[in-house]
Amino acid sequence: MSLLLLAVALLGFSGLCSLLLGGKRSGANTLGAAGGVVGSLVGILPAIQVLRTGTTATFYHPWNVPYGSFFLQIDALSAFFLLPIFLLSALAALYGRQYMESTPGGKNLGAFWFFFNLLIAGMALVVTARNGILFLMVWEVMSLASFFLVTFENEKESVRRAGWTYLAATHLGTAFLFVLFFLLGRESGAVLLDFDSFSGAGSRVSHVADVAFFLGLVGFGTKAGFVPFHVWLPEAHPAAPSHVSAVMSGAMIKTGIYGILRLLTLLGTPTPGWGWALLAMGLVSGILGVLFALAQHDIKRLLAYHSVENMGIITLGVGLGVLGMSSGHPALAALGFGGGLLHVVNHALFKGLLFLGAGVVLHETGTGELEHLGGLMKKMPWTAGTFLVGAAAISGLPPLNGFVSEFLLYLGALGSIEAQTMAPAGFLVIVGLALIGGLAAACFTKAFGTVFLGEPRSEHALRGHEPGRSMLLPMVLLSLFCALIGLCAPFVIGALCPAVSILTSMPFPRVESLLSPAKAPLLWVSVGGILFLVLAAGLAGLCRRLLARRRVEQAGTWDCGYVKPTARMQYTASSFAQPLTRMFDGILRTRESLDRPEGLFPVYAALKTEPRDLFNDLVYRPLFLGVEWLALRLRWLQEGHVQLYVLYIALTLLALLIWNLS
C-alpha cells in the first residue's frame, strides 16, 4: 500500500516540479515524463503483489470532510485495473517526452506534465478509493486533469469545442454518481460514505438497488463511452495529444467499467434485468461503435469509435456474467466476467498501441486524414509493423491477445446455449461478437491499408520517417505484450481468478475450479498460435529458397492495362468502406455531396462524404438547442439588479420553509 502512496506522491511531486519549471521547456518536459514513468512503474508493484499473493492492502485515515474518510484499498479487482493504468501510463509518458518536444514554443509543457501526472494519479486513486466522497473527488480530479489535457492545443477552435463537449458530458455523468452515492449512503444509514457500509443498502429494498444500478449505468457509462453517452469520446480523443488519447482510451474510460463492476459488488445479488440491460448496452455500443468507426476519415476519430466498440465487447462480457449470477450459473458468470476483465487489459494494450502509432503518423506527416496518407510502410517500417500487430489484435485475430478474451466470451456464450441456460443471451453474444469481429477487420484493413500501404496520396505522406527510439520502444513493448498474452493464454486464467472471485462473491478455489475447464482450450489456442507461426516461418523460408536462384523482377502494379497508374487512382478509404456504410446508411446517415463528371471528356468530379453521429444529430443537438431556447426565454429572471437576486434567495428560503412545515 505504501508503494501506491509513494507512486501517487511521486507523480504529484514531479508534476508540481515540472509546473514550477514551466519556463524551461526541456527541463520541465524531461522531469515530467520521468516522474510519470517512475511513478507509474512504482505503482505497478503493489498491483502485482496483490494479484500474486491474493491479499488486500488497506489504508485508512480519518478525514474531517463530512461523510468522508481517506480510505484506500487494493483488492484483486482494483489491482487488475491498476495494472493496465500504470503500464500504459508509463509507456505513454516515455513516448510523450519526445512527442511534446516538437510542440510550438509558446506552450507550457510544465502545465501539461502536471496534468498528465495528475491524471495518472487520479485514475489510480479512483480504482482504489473506498469512500464515496473520496471517490467523487478523485473522479473529478481525473476528469478535470484529462479536460486540461484535451484542451492542450486550445488555440484551435475544434479543440476548444471538443473540450467543452467533454466537460459537459463528464459532469452530467458525475451528477448521476453524486445522486448514486448519496442514495446508497441514505439507504445504508451509515455516518460515512464508506463502500463497506453500502453492502446492505441494495438488498433491503429491491427497487433502491434498481435505481442505484441505473444511476451507475448512466454515470459510469458516460465515462466508459457507452452508446448513447459516447458523443464526447470521438470529439475528445482526436483533440488531445496522441499519448493522452492513448491513456484516456486505454485506461481512463476503463474506470467507467471499473465503477460498474464495483457497484455490482456493492449491490448484492443482481437481477436478470441488469444483465439484460448491460447486454443490450454492450451489443448496441459494440455494433454501432464499429459502424461509426467504418465511416470515419480521421484516424484518431476512427480509433475513438473503436473504443466505443471495445467497451461494448467488455460490457457484453459483464452482462453475460451478471446474467450468469442472477440465474444461478456460476460457470457462465465466471466466463463472462473473466472474458470482460481480460478484454479490459487487452484493449488497454492494443488501443494504447494504436493511438501511439497514430500519434507517430500525425507527428511525422502532420495529418491524420486517411485520404491524404499512404505508403508509410516503407518510410516507417517499425511503426507500421507495430500498428499491424495492434490492428490484428483489435480485430480479434489469433494468435494475439484480442482473440483470447473474445474466445472466453464465445466459450461462455456457446456453453450457455449448449446447457440451455440463458440461451438467448448466448445467441446475442455470438451474433454480436461475430458481426463486430468482421466489421472491425474491415475497418482496420481500411485504416492500415490506406495509411501504410500503397503509394503516398499527398505531400504529407511523403514527409514521414521513423521517429526516435523513445517513441518506438513503447510501441514495440506494447505489441510484444499483445503477442505474449496471445501465446501464453492459459496463464492469464490464473491472473483472472482473484478478480472474478470478488465479482462473483465466490471463494477463490471455487472460481478456480470453474475457470480451469477453460485452461485446456486456451492451451490449445496457444499451441495453434505457435503452430501457425512456425508454419508461416517455414513457408516464408520455403518461398525465399524457391525464389533464391530465379529471376525476381520489379515492375509497376498491373492495373488492367493502364500504362501510368498514379497514386490518385488508388482505392480510397471511403470507397473501401462504401459498400458497408451504404448498407447501414439508415444508421450512419453519412452526408454525401456528389459533383458528377459531365460531358464526354469530364475534367472535374468530386465526392464528399461527411460522417455524422446519429445520436449527436438526433438526440443531443435538439436537446441542447431546446435547453438554450429555454434559457433564453428565462433571461428576464436575470436583470443584473442585486435586489432582485436577494428577493430570489428570500423567496426560495420561504418556499423551503413552507414546504418543510407543511
Binding site: 456460476p330 460457470a331 465466471a334 505508403g375 510502410m377 517500417p381 499491424l388 480479434g396 485475430l397 489469433p398 482473440f403 474466445f407 464465445y410 456457446l414 456453453g415 446455449i417 449448449e418 446447457a419 440451455q420 440461451a423 448466448g426 445467441f427 461475430a434 458481426l435 469481429g437 468482421g438 477487420a441 474491415a442 484493413t445 492500415f448 491499408g449 490506406t450 500501404l453 500503397g454 475447464p517 485446456a520 490449445w524 489456442v525 499451441v527 495453434g528 501457425f532 508461416a536 513457408l539 518461398c543 524457391l546 529471376r551 525476381v552 523482377e553 520489379q554 515492375a555 502494379t557 498491373w558 488492367c560 487512382m569 488508388q570 482505392y571 462504401q578 459498400p579 458497408l580 448498407m583
Partner: protein, 316 residues
C-alpha cells in the same frame, strides 16, 4: 489422439485441389465442353512453383507475407477440422471459434496484400471481400452452435463441464442419423446456411464468378491479380484448402455416417465433399451471379436460417 486423426489432415493437404477439379469438370459437362483435366490445379501448382516472380514497386513485405500467412492459417485450421465422425488431431471446447478466426486471419492478410499494390481494382475486390465475410461469419458461427445443440439434444450438461461437446470433433461425431431423425428440419436449415457460407467464402457463383473476364465484377480473383509464381501457388492452394475446410463442415453435416470406424466415416465425408463439389458445379452452371447489392441479402438470409434452426432446437 489416434492414428487416423493424425493422418487425415495430411490427406486433406493432398486431396484438397481435387475439389476445384470436380467443380470445373461439372461445369465443363454442363457447358458441353471437354474441359480441363480433373487434376488441373495440381499441374498449375507444380508449374507456378517452378517460376520466378515479379513484384510491384509499390509493394512492401506485407505483399509477400500475405500468401504465406493465409496458407499457414489454412493449414493450422486443418488440425482442428474433423472428418465427420473421425475426430481432428486437436480438439477442444470452442475450437470452432479458432477455425472461424483463422479464416478471418487469412482474409485479413489477403486483403492487406491486395491493398498493398495500390491498385484500384484490388482495392475494390478487397472492399467487397470484407463486406461479405463480415456478414457470413455470424451465419457460420450460429449455424455451428445450432449443430452443436442438435447433436446433444437430450443431455443438458452443467455449464462449464462440456467434455469436448463444444469442439468441432465433439459436435460432428454426435451428428448421427438419430440427430437427423430427431431434428431434421433444423439440421437441414443449418446445412443450407453452411452451404451458402461455403459458396460465399469460396467466391463461387452466385456471389462471385471465378471465371469472369471483367476485373470490375470480381471479388477474390481481382485481389490476387498482382501475385505470381510461388506466391500465386500458395494463394491457390490456400484457397483450395479453405474450400476443403468449409466443405467438410457442410459435408460432415449432411453425411450422417457415424460407424465409429474413423476410416469409414472419413471416406463417407470425402464422398460427401465430392458431392458438394458436384453440387457447386451444378449451381455454378445453372445460376447467374447475383447483383452485388443483392449479395448481402442472401448472406443475411443464411444467418436467418441458422438462427431459425437454433430457435427450433431450443424450443423443443
Amino acid at each position: 489422439m489416434n492414428t487416423p486423426s493424425l493422418i487425415l489432415p495430411f490427406l486433406a493437404l493432398i486431396l484438397s485441389p481435387l475439389l476445384v477439379g470436380i467443380v470445373n469438370r461439372t461445369k465443363a459437362f454442363f457447358a458441353g465442353r471437354t474441359g480441363q483435366p480433373l487434376f488441373q490445379l495440381y499441374f498449375d501448382l507444380a508449374k507456378l512453383l517452378r517460376k520466378g516472380a515479379v513484384y510491384s514497386k509499390t509493394t512492401s513485405w506485407i505483399f509477400r507475407a500475405g500468401p504465406v500467412v493465409q496458407l499457414a492459417a489454412a493449414i493450422t485450421a486443418l488440425f482442428v477440422l474433423p472428418w465427420g465422425g473421425a475426430s481432428a488431431p486437436f480438439h477442444f471446447n470452442g475450437d470452432l471459434i479458432l477455425l472461424a478466426y483463422l479464416m478471418g486471419l487469412m482474409r485479413f492478410f489477403t486483403v492487406l496484400a491486395a491493398l498493398d499494390t495500390g491498385s484500384a481494382f484490388e482495392g475494390m475486390g478487397a472492399s467487397r471481400e470484407v463486406q461479405f465475410s463480415a456478414l457470413a461469419e455470424p451465419a457460420l458461427l450460429v449455424g455451428l452452435a445450432a449443430a452443436a445443440h442438435a447433436g446433444h439434444d437430450h443431455i443438458a450438461p452443467p455449464l462449464g463441464n462440456f467434455q469436448g461437446a463444444l469442439s468441432l470433433s465433439g459436435i460432428y461425431s454426435s451428428l448421427s442419423m438419430d440427430a437427423w431423425l430427431s431434428s431434421g428440419p433444423a439440421l437441414l436449415m443449418v446445412a443450407g446456411a453452411l452451404f451458402v457460407v461455403f459458396l460465399a467464402e469460396n467466391s463461387r457463383i452466385p456471389f462471385d464468378d471465378p471465371n469472369t473476364h471483367l476485373e470490375l465484377t470480381m471479388i477474390h480473383e481481382v485481389m490476387i491479380l498482382d501475385h505470381g509464381g510461388p506466391d500465386l501457388a500458395m494463394i491457390l492452394y490456400g484457397a483450395s484448402l479453405k474450400m476443403w475446410l468449409l466443405g467438410s463442415l457442410t459435408a460432415g453435416l449432411i453425411v450422417p455416417v457415424r460407424t465409429g470406424n474413423a476410416w469409414l466415416d472419413a471416406s463417407a465425408v470425402f464422398a460427401g465433399l465430392c458431392f458438394l463439389a458436384l453440387l457447386t458445379g451444378v449451381v455454378e452452371s445453372t445460376m447467374a451471379r447475383l447483383r452485388l447489392l443483392r449479395v448481402p441479402q442472401l448472406l443475411v438470409s443464411a444467418g436467418f436460417l441458422s438462427t431459425l434452426a437454433l430457435i427450433l432446437l431450443l424450443w423443443r
